[in-house]
Amino acid sequence: MISIPWTARIALRALKVNKMRSALTMLGIIIGVGAVIAMLAVGTGASRQIAEQMATMGSNLLIILPGSQTSGGVRTGFGGQTTLTLGDAEAIQRECQAVQDVAPIHNGTAQVVYGNLNWSTGVMGTTGGMNDVRDWPVGAGRPITDEDVRSATKVALLGQTVVDNLFGGIDPLDQIVRIKKIPFKVVGVMAVKGQSVMGQDQDDAVFVPVTTAQKKLFGTSFPGMIRQIMVKAKSARDLDPAEKQVTELLRQRHHIGAKKDDDFSVRNLTQMMQAAEQQTQIMTLLLGAIASVSLLVGGIGIMNIMLVSVTERTREIGIRMAIGAKTWDIRLQFIMEAIILSLIGGTVGLIAGVTGSQILSVVAGWRTIVSPFSALLAFAFSGIVGIFFGFYPAYKASLLNPIDALRYE
């Protein structure tokens, strides 16, 4: 039997004879492989982004929101009922073993003024526990202390975006800003956090002691009311116990009977994130599947051209058979041509896909990641396409009758 390198040489020569045709046939594979790689890159980029945002949210996070309220048959959404208090937050911290840290939150939007500049931003009343819960350290200055919370001091920590918009080049520490016309002393600047999962700029925020927010800025419908509580579990394994402990404790504190619904809701953010990541993965798969259709079409193009080639070269096949080429010699020759077409197409397609995804990330601003796995996959897939679509024409060629083939005009 003829050796593989020689088969490859013969195949390469045959492809060189019809350069234009070979190039056009490859184009189908190039587009197919390129599309698969670019689409997978977009998908992988999106899910990586979500994963990273998950990390910025703070890990092992539970969020407790007030429940909905039914009055006269009308149900409000979550938060419609204002049932959470600062006392709840303190109790969780004190009594739930699976909980590492708690951050009560009472927030609103307010105009922040410094000198002749002003900026509307979210103002978040919280405690020092927030830094730990959100994995968000103070960049400069000091955090909110328990003393601040106890005596409702008028101090503020600024997010970087707020600093940029109000202070320009000035060091904001120890400056006085006015929030809702009340002067606050800037005691710290938060480290840069970046975008949230929803694309929000998390650095566009001001932090004040929760008690200050309650008493001086946003008011409360009853003493001690807060809008939500963020809870950090001790570890990923403690998330479920923490959720259970918190629920139990709050039901007790809120005097909810055994058959009644909770008047609050506990949300497991990690789970939500995982769901979001799963969705992205499904989207990646879908994009890949759609792109593979073009690879399939490219494969059919190869098959088409190989069939034409077999017909054109019937006489050559006859000559080769007459001088001793066996069934598999002929078969391999044509399969090899198809494989070479698709592998060259695959290589160029790989380059096109990588370039394409880079262009996408520059032009559309999407994050794209070409994983070695997807490149390998697309490449292997193109080889398989070559073998699969090359086989039938090769099979047809190998079964020609040598006498008829020799006489073919």
């Binding site: 003829i2 000559i319 080769r320 007459a322 001793g324 066996k326 069934t327 040598p402 006498i403 020799l406």
Partner: protein, 228 residues
């Protein structure tokens, strides 16, 4: 020694209701070293006979023995192996691969039996030398005259040291002068190398180069005579 032996071989093509007998119980024996011409009008069965002798086709009935082996019992690939080792084909239309140098055309049969590159090249060179084409190794078929192309084909037929050359109207496309040169080459190969040559022709002066002539008519062998 009996090299080729046909025992009552027939080739029948079914054509709807009727059957076409391309060959009708032909028996003939060819010894090693013979130079045999096969003659007959078109459709007389001489090409069918050549195809069977060349292991390109198998008879419908009867036995065809090549070196004592019944070719009718062999599979596709085994026949291909025999064609590669025992037979060299020379066609009227040369049947060289286009866009391929003379040297590579001659190397072709050796590609299919695993001869190493170096040996292949060296054998191809010497075969081309034998047919008088030294210095034209790298010419492509379209750069060669008809006679030269036929010489390349002959070199390809002898390069594997096949004991038999089957030539189907090898001079059909050539002028008289070139035909004579080609026939002298066959004579030389037959005389010096002892290669058995079977030649299909319908020109008596080409048949005159051979030492035995068999004639076909309507699928039957009608005469078998020794020449001077």
């Amino acid at each position: 020694m009996k090299l080729i032996e046909a025992r009552g071989i027939s080739k029948i093509y079914p054509l709807g209701e009727i059957e076409l007998k391309a060959l009708d119980s032909v028996s003939v024996t060819i010894e090693e070293g013979e130079f045999l011409a096969i003659m007959g009008p078109s459709g007389s069965g001489k090409s069918t006979f050549m195809n069977i002798v060349g292991c390109l086709d198998i008879p419908t009935a009867g036995q065809y023995l090549l070196e004592g082996v019944d070719a009718g019992k062999l599979g596709r690939d085994e026949l291909a192996h025999i064609r590669n080792r025992k037979l060299g084909f020379v066609f009227q239309g040369f049947n060289l691969l286009p866009r391929t140098s003379a040297l590579e055309n001659v190397e072709l049969p050796m590609l299919y039996n695993g001869v190493a590159v170096k040996e292949r090249r060296q054998k191809a060179y010497s075969a081309l030398k034998t047919v008088g084409l030294e210095g034209r190794e790298n010419h492509h078929p379209n750069q060669l005259s008809g006679g030269q192309q036929q010489r390349v084909a002959i070199a390809r037929a002898i390069v594997n040291r096949a004991p038999i050359i089957l030539a189907d109207e090898p001079t059909g496309n050539l002028d008289t002068h070139t035909s004579r040169e080609i026939m002298e080459l066959f004579q030389k190969l037959n005389g010096e190398a002892g290669i058995t040559v079977l030649l299909v022709t319908h020109e008596p002066d080409i048949a005159a180069y051979s030492r035995r002539v068999i004639r076909f008519l309507d699928g039957r062998l009608v005469s078998d005579e020794k020449m001077q």
